[in-house]
Symmetry: C3
Subunit: 309 residues, 3 copies
């Protein structure tokens, strides 16, 4: 089992068979995290670097645990402690890390395309852990894993993604991924937060959450960035919550057995009500659990694909 590519930059570049291979591998890794000894020796002595230019507990920790459970050595570098403050370019920072014989660099950056720049310049594998408003492929893959685990299939499902579509790398990666796997994706949000010509990505656009949710198998809520409000892109937190927030009443419009997803961290009472977040349909914490397994699979398959050094 191996991916025949050096990097994971986005769902856009993956073939369906590769996605299936990641999911299948993650299924076998999931059990490792339930043991007393949550560790396999697969990647002992490999050097993996978490290079995070944006803060993120969840994703950084998930990759760190994934690496440790594969027995790799992992080093954390965050922008606040990095030479970037000294005026070094992103590429020089990355080349320096690679010169220390890193096998893999996991990068998060506010600039769309930053991981591609690194991937092209480096021999190390590069994993995109979120770049600007472009892609967040490991999130889409763990979402896919979670849907498949709960509903048994992806093909033909109706999946509603609701929120700030325009700025969301999570939405973009999910749309690409779910489309490749044969789901029908509906998107919904305030008109100011829906990108022009988004239909070309193969989605149906809704402006009322009730319409998007009607008959949906999956509801995926996006985190609202409070700072967007200052830019005048939506009127206010209370209005947003009233018109687009997911509450129990709206959940009832969905198909029976619907699952509710959120990439976290959640704003309770804003895009999702506490009753829904903590309710029986919510799989939000399953997403977090599956995130470690999916990231183990990604790290493992990219490493195996490169063969011995």
């Amino acid at each position: 089992m191996a991916l025949k590519r050096k990097d994971l930059l986005g769902i856009d570049y993956l073939e369906r068979s590769e996605i299936e291979e990641i999911i299948a591998t993650a299924e076998s890794f999931k059990e490792v995290s339930t043991r007393d000894i949550k560790k396999v020796p697969a990647l002992r002595g490999r050097t993996i670097v978490n290079l995070f230019f944006e803060p993120s507990t969840r994703t950084r920790t998930s990759f760190e645990l994934a690496a440790k459970r594969l027995s790799a050595d992992i080093i954390n570098i965050s922008s606040s402690t990095s030479s970037v403050v000294k005026g070094e370019t992103l590429l020089d920072t990355a080349r320096n890390i690679e010169a220390m014989n890193s096998d893999m660099i996991i990068v998060r950056h506010s600039m769309s395309g930053a991981p591609m720049i690194l991937a092209r310049a480096l021999k190390s594998s590069v994993i995109n852990a979120g770049d600007g408003s472009h892609e967040h492929p490991s999130q889409a893959l763990l979402d896919l894993f979670t849907i498949k685990e709960r509903l048994g299939r992806i093909e033909g499902l109706n999946i509603a993604i609701i929120g700030d579509i325009a700025h969301s790398r999570v939405a973009r990666s999910n749309i690409l991924c779910l489309n490749k796997m044969g789901a029908k994706v509906r998107i919904c949000g305030p008109a100011t937060l829906i990108p022009a010509e988004i239909e070309k990505m193969g989605v149906q656009v809704y402006f009322r959450p009730e319409d998007a949710i009607d008959g949906a198998d999956v509801i995926m809520m996006l985190r609202i960035q409070m700072e967007r409000q200052k830019s005048g892109l939506f009127p206010g937190i209370r209005e947003y919550s009233r018109f687009f927030g997911l509450n129990q009443e709206r959940v009832r419009l969905a198909k029976e057995g619907v699952i509710i997803m959120h990439p976290g961290p959640i704003n309770r009472g804003v895009e999702i009500s506490p009753e829904v977040a903590d309710g029986p349909y919510s799989v939000i914490l399953d997403q977090v659990t599956n995130g470690v397994a999916v990231r183990m699979a990604i790290i493992y398959l990219l490493t195996e694909g490169r063969g011995s050094l």
Copy 2:
């Protein structure tokens, strides 16, 4: 050997036999840290998380070393890098960590009671590494260990705790612990820093350090928080030092063979003079050494108590 509880939230909740078991286990672990290979395989592959919402080198590092010397994997999360800045609730942060199959969360928080909230909601073990002005149980246990190591017993000892009693979780945990173990606790500090009705905790109150120290077997100095001065709770550093600081003259009032303790970090020349801090009666660095052994014992016993997953 095991504790029959999931969490260590405070000395208040421990029985005397449990305290004795922790101390006995720490005695056997202390030797590990003196070896070349400072490691036992006991908790290999377990996932422990240091979740610190207040900065602390000493306690964070001590727990980190304790975990590593037990061969566990430990992840550090501090509030500055955490999703908490994104408005996530404490409980959501902790639930997310647990969803990644953590076995244990070690939490420090400025809010009294925060670890209890987590313990109730989580299946992971929770260790209180200091919560507001409530408790700091691992500190009291390492202090107890150090007293017993040096003086051979606890029962019947006269122990003077001097400083800002009102705001000190160290004082609170020590009073509870020493009382349970049969010591006689005296407390002393400026009247503004002595809580009302503290006598109900079974201590004798003194307002002059000379009286508190007279005949004491142990003197435990507390760190003075400079920011309290701004609140007008004591007149000034120099006055505090003059009236309450521990100097050689005051030490002479204690019993022969007295030991001097301080939870650190010390303010040299404020609550303790350099001659006393570095002098022959000081066991301040022994406290630090013993801290690792006691924390190894706590982590080990809580894990064993839970049995296999």
Copy 3:
């Protein structure tokens, strides 16, 4: 193989035979980092602490990887998270770390001499990872390693060090190291950045880079600290670049087969042009690679020299 000293504080204190031993050991460790399993069990269970009072990705990460590839446990403590903010003295911070049974403390500090203070007070080994404008011995050793690797010898080479000599611990350590090993060192920079009486260190002083470079086997560029400009020590970035920056035209004045070095992080277009930094003579990334091997050697030899505890 072992060093017969407890600490590595500066090149100034090393004998030539010790330098040769570090280089030889690094040569044998370099291969470890090219394996799939980049790890030797040499220092399993040892406790090493990175104590950084100045931010530094490069040096901190290099020491962290060196320690991990020797299988030691390493703990990172940076000033932002440390008790130093609480007013603790440097020595108290270090004594506390040592009390947790650390074997080795790697310290970076803005104050020249800080590592010496620690070395004298502690039983742990201390490695100076850069102190003020005093020394940065591991950098000079990795530079030496790189020159020897590329040019086959040190004896008799002409080596030009160009930049802010006055404030550079890298320059100081390199001058000391290269002199001991028999090279001829030329220094060059704006007159305001050349220390008075520097000739007494056994170097030739040049004020025009063309003269310093003429016939040089090695050109070592120093990083210019932008903040020096504010102090009026040089007129401006553009002037500095024009008069002292290394470009292809100036490189041509050097000996055939010249190598170009820089301790990083580089300011592209200031002290070095991108064409030169990325060009065929540049060994800047080799320096980074060799840094891990040299630091593995330093950590290993100091530990072995101390024998069993």
